[in-house]
Symmetry: C2
Subunit: 81 residues, 2 copies
């Protein structure tokens, strides 16, 4: 089963890396960029009996390792294949 976990900084948490990328885009001549925020995406191939158990497992993985729940939100997408 293939899954994606998207980890993003929570709203209101400062993202200096995103700000730096935004400034670099301006320097390169891209006008009209209001904001940039950077996150992470994990593509995970795992064995699971069904979608629900895969989601439960991914939820635990995200809380324990993939995301820092204090400052980050995460989103889980499972595609049965």
């Amino acid at each position: 089963m293939k899954a994606q976990v998207i980890v993003k900084l929570k709203q209101g948490v400062l993202d200096p890396q995103g700000v730096a990328i935004g400034k670099s885009l301006s320097t390169l001549g891209f006008q009209g960029v209001n904001s940039v925020r950077q996150g992470k995406i994990f593509e995970i191939d795992l064995n699971a009996s069904d979608e629900k158990s895969a989601k439960d497992e991914l939820q635990k993985m995200s809380e324990k390792l993939l995301a820092n729940p204090v400052i980050e939100d995460f989103e889980i997408k499972v595609s049965a294949s």
Copy 2:
């Protein structure tokens, strides 16, 4: 206009970080993880007259700064809002 750019390593490009995450998951007791690959996601808020011009601009940004086209693929999603 809000957009997402997802940058992933190309198929076949070694992802040592993803491998390390997979091993950590096993160590934490998550069995059944076959592979993990890590990518980046950029959430960009930009001014553009329409979806097409936003996509063109994002395509250029990705080629110039956000992705390394030699080893990475990117995907652009624009949501008009």
